[in-house]
């Protein structure tokens, strides 16, 4: 009977199994063994942070990124994991009012910080103006990058308002304006696989005009 069990494995199961073993053989196992070999269990630490106005005290593996903490511990799955290396911007959230890549930050580095995610900007019944503008202008297609795009868009307009210059700002000491070129440059850290870029800038232009 056991034999039959083995031979009954579906083709799909076999493929998934072999793909997994290939992926694993490239380092994951090695590191798992290495950390098992080192005697002590993974280090944990307490951290206090406020997310969307709500204080939390969490006990975490020191390796937890801010992104994984939001998604896995606080069930705030709006912030997305795209590349996990700071290259795509899908994980963008605001920390103390500034946008950052939550995948390239450890949760323990945020003791006492105030984090705002897409869930904190607005709700389905009470959209943030930028969320409403994305809907109006169709600033997405599949929607995966959208929470990061919206957080980044809100922060971008704030950065322009505060007079932070950009790569395309002509006069560094002059007033910054939310032009099409400025918004495109400042949003370059948010990649959209569906190519909704021009609609995103239209949405931002709407909000910038008030």
């Amino acid at each position: 009977m056991q034999d039959k069990g083995i031979f009954n494995l579906s083709r799909r199961g076999m493929l998934a199994g072999s793909a997994a073993s290939v992926a694993v053989s490239q380092g994951t196992i090695a590191s798992a063994q290495a950390s098992q070999a080192s005697s002590s269990p993974p280090a944990r630490m307490a951290v206090n942070l406020t997310v969307n106005g709500k204080p939390h005290r969490l006990e975490l593996d020191t390796r937890m990124t801010l992104l994984d903490t939001l998604r896995e511990h606080l069930q705030l799955t709006g912030s997305k994991k795209g590349c996990d290396h700071g290259q795509c911007g899908a994980c963008t959230v605001m920390v103390n009012g500034e946008r950052v890549n939550s995948c390239l930050s450890l949760a323990v580095m945020h003791e006492g910080d105030e984090v705002t995610t897409i869930e904190g900007l607005g709700s389905p019944d009470d959209l943030h103006p930028m969320q409403a503008a994305f809907v109006k202008h169709d600033g997405y297609q599949c929607g995966y990058c959208t929470p990061g795009q919206i957080c980044s868009a809100v922060a971008t307009l704030e950065e322009i308002r505060k007079g932070i210059p950009s790569h395309v700002t002509e006069i560094l000491t002059g007033r910054m304006r939310p032009t099409n070129m400025e918004m495109r440059e400042r949003m370059s850290g948010n990649i959209c696989r569906c190519g909704a870029y021009s609609n995103i800038v239209d949405a931002m232009t709407d909000v910038a005009r008030g």
Binding site: Q26, G27, S31, A34, S35, S38, S40, P42, A43, M45, D61, T62, R63, T65, D84, H85, G86, G89, T92, E98, R99, V100, N101, L104, S105, L106, V108, M109, E111, S152, A155, T156, E159, K162, G163, I164, P165, S166, H167, T169, L172, T173, R184, E185, R186, M187, S188, G189, N190
Partner: protein, 315 residues
Amino acid sequence: MRSFTYERAATPADAARAVASHPNAKFIAGGTNLLDLMKLEIETPAHLIDVGQLGLDRIEKAGDGIRIGTLVSNTALSAHERVREDYPVLTRAIQAGASGQLRNKATTGGNLLQRTRCIYFYDTNMPCNKRAPGSGCAAIGGISRQLGVIGTSDACIATYPGDMAVAMRVLDAAVETIRPDGTMRSIPIADFHRLWGDTPHIETVLEPGELITHVYLPKPLGGKQFYAKVRDRRSYAFALVSVAAVIQPDGTGWVAFGGVAPKPWRVPEADAMLPHGAKAVVDRAFADARPTEDNAFKIPLARRTLAGVLADAKA
């Protein structure tokens, strides 16, 4: 990522001592380079000392120049009023790098210490003398379009990839540090990054546990200031070649090149050629170049980029 313990340092001296007293400890500031590399297990520290709370986050007037705390973010540094007015080449260089999100998190010291972007350094299946000393160099004879043309060695042909430091090189900045024994020193940026030689895994002159506290910028140079960066897309990519330059009305000035060498590349004798045009400067600055077939284009590209800057300076 390997497991690690974590502590927040209270003072710069504590931080330096803490790194020196743990085997395999590292400082973490913004984390945007270190965590990237830790996820790939290219960096595997067993202990992290977070320097984020050290209060080194101010820009102050100091003599004729300014002193920048190591924790000043790239955004804050580039947007600072005095920097925009007196050191615009620095604002331009910072804003040409990374993305808005990353610049908010990236710190001055962390930016100086960012590691190379050589694709083989990032691929742990490949030999790399920088990542695994003595294992060889997959880039030599491999894909080397992005890599160095000068100051490289038979052990490593990677570049220092950053933008900010190229502007700091033109401004003759100094990197101020504190060592685990409490002594402080000031390192001219010209001497801060090492050429790879036989030890490409040793990238700067910092000693184990030595903490960057500040970067000092001397008296403003005036003139017209430029940072021209050429890359594969208009935004959010590392430099193939970059040019940081300060040009005076009489055509004299200072120039450094990025994306070409293990450090921001500046040759004083080449500065002196500025009044004679871009070709004279680049011929001198790259006289000892050893490009690969893939990246020989960087030398004419440097010449054309500088020619563009010099034309803008005259306009």
